[in-house]
């Protein structure tokens, strides 16, 4: 399934809400949480991480992973949390609006 423009940022922020993760961990988490529906290309995820970091919404730190390997872990910053709340309400409004239009689909069938 393709992602809507700008949705990836929101998904990443949402994923980091539960705790810090490394890049590959974020990709895996999104995939499993969406029941494998959203297979995020790492090639798009990684630049998104850098972009979010540059905007100050996430911060990174080298830590030891579960397999005792060094990896860069990303966590949500306060600014990122605020942004996520905003994006979430916008997203909810959007879904709501689209839902109103799309819902009575029975007429088509």
């Amino acid at each position: 399934m393709d992602l809507l423009q700008g949705t990836l940022d929101m998904l990443v922020l949402r994923t980091l809400l539960t705790g810090s993760l490394h890049g590959y961990g974020i990709a895996k988490s999104i995939r499993s949480t969406s029941n494998e529906a959203l297979a995020i290309e790492f090639g798009s995820l990684y630049p998104a991480l850098k972009r979010l970091e540059a905007k100050g919404w996430i911060a990174s730190k080298w830590e030891m992973s579960e397999h005792n390997r060094r990896a860069k872990f990303y966590r949500l910053t306060v600014a990122g949390r605020k942004h996520l709340v905003q994006e979430h309400s916008k997203w909810a409004d959007f879904v709501d609006a689209v839902g109103r239009i799309m819902n009575p689909l029975s007429e088509v069938k």
């Binding site: 590959y24 090639g43 630049p47 991480l49 850098k50 905007k55």
Partner: protein, 881 residues
């Protein structure tokens, strides 16, 4: 915001390297965790996208463009050098001339809110810039409603000694009203301004000195000027303040050394009556700031009313006397209208040069854009955007423009140094004060930028529209079939540009030629008076409170002592030497002359001279006689006028025996006994002016010039003369002591040589630029017609045929330019001649030599590429295609 700073941070290569390393390390660790590269997909692309977040793509690509442009420019250094130098010369000349005009006319007064300071004067039918008397000023100050403040001052020269032991020196001293400094918004850099009560005479006299005066006389000797005394005409003044270095007074070219209260006028002159209380003594310069509600127009109306009221009340002193207000710039223009025409002409000439230079560079860029169409086609075909292409071409012309501006400023700086040295050797020194200021820098940057947009955009747009398939096929020649319309259009445009350049160069050259002619006339013009073996100096014993009788006795002793000095052949006394900057005037009413309505007397150049003056200076008496020792006080009053005076007031009549009333229609009468040859009095380029000589004995003056004829070297007499004056009275100041030849040269040769060099340099710059433009176009034409010439040579055309073919084209362009230029000159020349009476004499030689010279230079400029065309191997030329 954050992202902006991240990017700024990443401008540094070190930060970038760090980021890159960290990214690679992170991706490696993730590859290990994920168990292989496959899991993570295309990492190269991911890295590239990630880098974009911290890099400044557009900035980087602009830097790339700059690098590329520099490389291209350096690959064709001839183009770069010619273009940059064209602009540099034009911008340099413009900046230098702008600075010159600035010093002559435009520089604002060094006061707070200078544009809000207006000039208030008396006007009479004879003089629209008359000073105001103090009583008139006081009435105006107390009764007007237009001004929030009015102040007055009077610039004088006085004998100043910073030390009781030192000999007095002549310095500019400004006598100012109490509110002078506060109204101007000038705060002394040390000490205080004048107190309001110091305007009147009571109490210990106080003075404010200029920063320069403090440095020369006090700081240099480790003293502080504050609290010290300075003697002016022997009166001790306590120094209470030092004016800031930026404040040089309200007059151009002269900077007062000392400011003292106006109330000191009477004591300073040791006059029996207070000159300030004399309503007929129009000595003050008045400046004012308008109320917030008033405009110049409303102030003018009120001034007219007040003036009319004063005229009614004081008919004797104020008849035909009115009041007027003007801006500072208007005052300067009214003071010296010839300065305005000079500034206008110089700025007009440099503007022409700027136009020539810009069209030159435009032409070069057009030619280059065409020659580069293949390169551009390649760049377009491998995916360069048109926007990018235009940007790169614009950057290229921007580099040229900026380089031109930088070198131009450097040239301007040199020119300004040369112009800044223009001054007249005099005591106290006066200077022109040309300096490079920030407005000039801004002006040249603007000129560079404007020309960049002007000539950068058009070729950029044009070349980016190139049809690249035909361009690639056609090799370096640019589009043929598809581009024919363009080619025709631009080819015609370029021809027009070059012809226009030649035309403008012709205008500049004719102007320069007219000046050369006038200048040569001036140089070959023998001085109308003798200058060799003469030395002169000024002295003014009146500053020491000599009575008129004492002054006359002093001059008699001066002449007697000088006459018997070793090495002295002869002496004479005059109020002013011809061509010295301090010319004096007389007010006269010539017998039988009908003045136009409203006027009743004439103010003309005039001087009191002694009997030996005409003989010593060799001034020719055309009819009648010169003064003799019999023209004494008490004998019949006489005068000698010059031929121009006769022409003006008694045309066609015999002037000998006619009478002139001096000062006013009721003044003393003098009978004209002789007519002298008309000379030049203030400047060599002045229109012939009437002049009146009066015998010194009948018209004694306090400040005179002693002229001494030496047996040997005139300069050698300087020291003995100074000592001789000291032996009469050590306190009498001696100033402007210099050989007459030195004065003559500085007034005639140096100033005009400078001016001529300026105009001449402009002419040469114009010629150089225009011929470069022509050369560029012809060279380009030749390179485009390589195939054509190859065929011609192959079928038997001789070298001469080819050369003629090319040169003919150059000559035709030049001839077209000369024709246009001739028409332009026909319009411009009378304007020039009118602006510079006596100097801008247009002569037929100029009109012959300038076009001939232009054609010759054009022929040479086209001969060089022509020879290259004729020398080429036909086979190779054809193969090249």
């Amino acid at each position: 915001m954050m992202s902006f700073w991240t990017r700024i941070k990443h401008l540094s290569p070190a930060a970038r390297r760090r980021e890159e390393l960290e990214m690679r390390e992170e991706l490696e660790s993730l590859t290990a965790i994920a168990g292989g590269r496959k899991e993570l997909g295309n990492l190269t692309l991911a890295m590239e996208d990630a880098r974009a977040t911290w890099s400044w793509t557009w900035l980087e690509s602009i830097l790339g463009d700059v690098r590329y442009s520099l490389r291209t420019l350096l690959r064709q250094p001839a183009f770069a050098i010619v273009a940059v130098l064209s602009l540099a010369l034009a911008i340099g000349a413009n900046s230098a001339i702008f600075s010159f005009a600035d010093a002559l006319l435009l520089r604002p007064l060094p006061v707070e809110n200078s544009s809000g300071l207006f000039d208030v004067t008396n006007t009479t039918p004879d003089n629209t810039l008359e000073g105001m008397s103090f009583p008139d000023f006081r009435d105006l100050r107390d009764h007007n409603r237009s001004f929030s403040g009015l102040t007055a001052y009077r610039l004088t020269t006085q004998a100043v000694a910073s030390d009781p032991m030192a000999p007095a020196q002549i310095r500019f001293v400004s006598l100012v009203a109490g509110n002078f400094f506060s109204l101007l918004g000038v705060t002394p850099s040390a000490g205080r301004a004048f107190l309001p009560e110091e305007e009147s005479i009571v109490g210990q006299p106080v003075a404010i000195v200029s920063r320069d005066f403090e440095e020369q006389n006090y700081a240099a000797r480790g003293r502080s000027a504050l609290g010290d005394t300075v003697r002016i005409n022997g009166i001790p003044f306590t120094i209470v303040g030092v004016a800031p270095a930026s404040f040089t007074g309200l007059d151009r070219f002269v900077a007062p050394s000392i400011y003292i209260p106006l109330g000191m006028s009477q004591r300073l002159a040791a006059a029996p009556m207070n000159p300030l209380e004399d309503r007929g003594n129009h000595i003050l310069v008045v400046k004012g700031r308008l109320n917030s509600g008033a405009s110049m127009k409303s102030a003018k109306a009120e001034l007219a009313n007040i003036g009319a009221e004063l005229e009614r009340e004081y008919a004797k002193t104020n008849r035909n006397r009115h009041m007027s207000i003007r801006t500072e710039l208007q005052r300067r223009i009214d003071q010296a209208p010839q300065l305005l025409s000079m500034a206008k002409m110089l700025m007009g000439l440099v503007a022409l040069i700027l136009v020539i230079a810009c069209s030159n560079v435009a032409n070069l860029l057009l030619v280059r854009a065409r020659a580069r169409s293949r390169e551009i086609a390649i760049r377009l075909s491998i995916g360069a955007g048109r926007g990018q292409l235009i940007r790169q071409l614009m950057i290229e012309s921007l580099i040229v423009a900026l380089a031109g501006a930088i070198i131009g400023l450097w040239i301007a700086y040199g020119g300004i140094l040369a112009l800044g040295m223009m001054s007249v050797p005099s005591d106290p020194p006066s200077v022109l004060g040309v300096e490079l200021d920030w407005r000039v820098v801004e002006f040249s940057l603007l000129a560079a930028l404007a020309s960049c947009i002007l000539f950068g955009l058009v070729p950029a747009l044009q070349s980016s529209r190139t049809d690249f398939v035909t361009a690639l096929k056609a090799g370096g020649e640019g589009p043929q079939a598809g581009g024919r319309r363009w080619a025709l259009k631009w080819f015609g445009g370029r021809d027009l540009l070059v012809a226009g350049q030649v035309a403008l160069a012709m205008v500049v050259l004719v102007a320069a030629g007219m000046f050369l002619q006038g200048f040569r006339d001036m140089l070959t013009m023998r001085p109308e008076f003798r200058t060799d073996h003469l030395i002169s100096f000024d002295t003014a014993p009146a500053v020491l409170h000599y009575t008129p009788e004492q002054t006359q006795a002093f001059y008699r002793r001066l002449i007697d002592r000088a006459r018997v000095m070793a090495g002295v052949a002869n002496v004479a006394l005059t109020e002013a030497l011809p061509l010295s900057p301090g010319q004096t005037i007389v007010t006269v009413v010539p017998e039988g002359f009908e003045f136009p309505k409203g006027r009743e007397k004439a103010v003309e150049f005039g001087a009191a001279v002694d009997a030996g003056f005409f003989h010593l200076l060799n001034i020719e008496i055309k009819s009648g006689r010169a003064f003799t020792d019999d023209d004494r006080a008490g004998s019949r009053r006489v005068a000698v006028v010059n031929e121009q005076f006769v022409k003006t007031y008694w045309p066609g009549q015999n002037p000998i025996g006619k009478r002139i009333r001096l000062d006013s229609a009721t003044g003393p009468q003098a009978e004209v006994v002789g007519v002298a040859k008309t000379g030049h009095y203030l400047a060599v380029n002045e229109a012939p002016a009437p002049f009146v000589y009066l015998p010194y004995e009948q018209n004694p003056r306090s400040r005179m010039t002693l002229v001494v004829e030496s047996v040997g070297d005139a300069a050698g007499l300087a020291k003995p003369l100074r000592e001789m004056v000291r032996s009469i009275d050590p306190n009498v100041p001696v100033f402007n002591l210099r050989p007459v030849a030195t004065l003559y040269e500085s007034r005639v040769t140096d100033t005009w040589l400078n001016f001529f060099q300026m105009v001449g340099a402009m002419g040469l710059i114009g010629l150089a630029l225009a011929s470069t433009g022509l050369y560029g176009l012809i060279a380009y034409t030749v390179s485009r017609r390589v195939k054509d010439f190859g065929i011609r040579i192959a079928v038997g055309a001789s070298r001469r045929d080819i050369i003629w073919l090319v040169v003919r084209r150059g000559l035709m362009l030049a001839a077209a330019g000369v024709l246009i230029g001739g028409a332009l000159t026909a319009i411009a020349a009378p304007l020039l001649a009118a602006g510079f009476p006596g100097l801008g004499v247009s002569s037929s030689a100029v009109y012959v030599f300038v076009p001939l010279g232009l054609l010759m230079v054009s022929a040479m400029a086209s001969y060089m590429p022509a020879r290259r065309a004729a020398g080429m191997d036909p086979l190779q030329a054809l193969r090249n295609e």
